[in-house]
Amino acid sequence: MSEDVLVIAEHLQGSFTDATFEALAIARALASQTGGSVEAAVVGANAEAMAAALGGADRILAVVDGTAAFDPTGHSGICADLVSSRSPKIVLVPYTSVGMDVASHIAIGNDLPLVSYCQSIDAESDLTATCQLYAGKIEADVTVEGDRAVFALLSGAGQAEAGRSGGVGEVEVLSEAAGAPGTTFIELSEPEGGDVDITTEEVLVVVGRGIESEDNIEEAQELAEALGGAVAASRPIIDQGWLAKSRQVGKSGLTVTPKVYLALGVSGAPEHIEGMRDSSTIIAVNTDPQAPIFGVAHHGWVGDIFDLLPELTDLLDN
């Protein structure tokens, strides 16, 4: 085992994600505790050319693979093998679409413990982490039994800017890696444009599960119009088919930064918060005083959105 911290870099369409740089920032802090160095692994046809962007690592392991795009099965196998040959103390995986495929396979393939939903990690003595459970309603402090582990990081756990800075890492090119067969990339699809671009709206009225039915969205729509903004939603509403995908805020949707973000019945799961936490003014309304949205909001009211909506609309009408 080395004392190193290995980051699995995530990329799409030729660029690394913010989550990758957040992981590099956390890796740097952990490496200073373990006394090891920071390694980053990038897998793909263009891995060598892309490696230069990972200057936040001391060493970049560029695994040149046949496909430029992510291959869920093949790349998981490659990453598991890489961890096996490098034997780092700590593996960090951004818990995004790529990490969700890779993390378990690295852990099981190397018989390592896996800790998910991590918001902070410490390696001063034992390996410990604080994790968010139950969609952010519970925080858990955990200790890993053993001296090595894989940690899957929630978005926002580290500072992407800190992970971006850094010099020029040494690049080690590993070619002809063979991942496990089973999945083959076919094509990438861009989202269809919606009628409204929620990333440019100054005011967003955002509905969550608390809106209860498709018919009730109209009331939120009217309020949004009166405020000169647009209606957006959290994932459950989009999955129900009540609003178009182009209206989705969060991890699998869009990141927005409006002047005013009025969240109605949005609980505030980490995946949602990821897409809206940098909004200038966040106002949250929810019947549940424990709703994690209140942790990120600037202003909050505990109450029923169906009591509030007519009051707001009346005030605006007058």
Partner: protein, 255 residues
């Protein structure tokens, strides 16, 4: 195509959560459980595939909550062919233990694909679906928003972010972590659930909780102080509406 769908009972996200006495877990005594919402999507996608291309849908759940039989009967009413409950009155299990139990049950089933919700809110030691695919050495795609069978297996659409998706050809058998079905999970009339209940379609098999293997020890849990960020508005809806409008105007929006 024969599909096995893993269904998990999770604490109702709408309920207020309380901690146990030594603050290492939820107080589960009076906790209500519901079907993990992503598993509901996994079930929907499996039933859609069955309707389009034939085959069977088998639902598999661990008996760790009183709500599990009802959950399985609902799946039958929606269109699943077979329902299997693993054990009864089992404690809450971590992801590694769940994956082990599911893997054991799958050994005696024949299937082309296993569908599982992409995640659950309590998976502190990894996602059950992907842990299972790693244990079984099967091809896998996580964060799937649509699957279509073809001559060489199935074509799965994986979601990245900002609505970008990628399509993959998947050899079978495989494990898919479903984020969303192509359509919202269907509703089913209570009368049909009752019918499923009376038909005795639920198979219960014995299961013993596996020895803990995750090596992730929970030292303490707490309810985060969510109010620390927000200045809370007092008063009724009328006072709240006035204050919210004032805040909106203060943020530079002219209304």
């Amino acid at each position: 195509m024969d599909i096995v769908v893993l269904l998990r009972a999770v604490p109702d996200p709408a309920e207020e959560l309380e901690l146990n006495e030594d603050e290492t877990d939820l107080d589960r005594d009076f906790l209500g459980y519901v079907l993990n919402e992503f598993d509901d999507h996994a079930l929907e996608e499996a039933i859609l595939l069955k309707e389009e291309a034939g085959g069977t849908v088998t639902v598999l759940a661990i008996g760790n909550a009183d709500e599990v039989p009802q959950m399985l009967h609902t799946a039958i009413a929606k269109g699943a062919d077979t329902a299997i409950q693993l054990g009864d009155d089992l404690p809450a299990l971590d992801s590694h233990a769940q994956a082990e139990l599911f893997a054991g049950a799958l050994a005696s089933l024949s299937y082309d694909a296993v569908f599982c919700g992409v995640q659950a809110t309590d998976e502190i030691d990894g996602q059950v679906g992907m842990l299972l695919s790693a244990r079984l050495g099967l091809p896998h795609v996580s964060v799937v928003v649509g699957a279509n069978p073809n001559d060489s297996g199935l074509r799965a659409t994986k979601e990245y972010w900002g609505g970008i998706t990628a399509d993959y050809q998947v050899s079978l058998p495989a494990v898919l972590g479903i984020q969303a079905a192509r359509q919202a999970p269907r509703y089913v009339a209570v009368s049909r659930i009752r019918q499923a209940q009376e038909s005795g379609a639920l198979n219960e098999v014995d299961a013993t909780p596996p020895a803990p293997s995750s090596r992730v020890r929970i030292d303490a849990v707490r309810i985060p102080d969510t109010g620390e960020g927000a200045a809370m508005i007092d008063g009724d809806e009328s006072a709240a509406a006035e204050r919210i409008l004032e805040i909106i105007r203060g943020a530079g929006v002219s209304v």
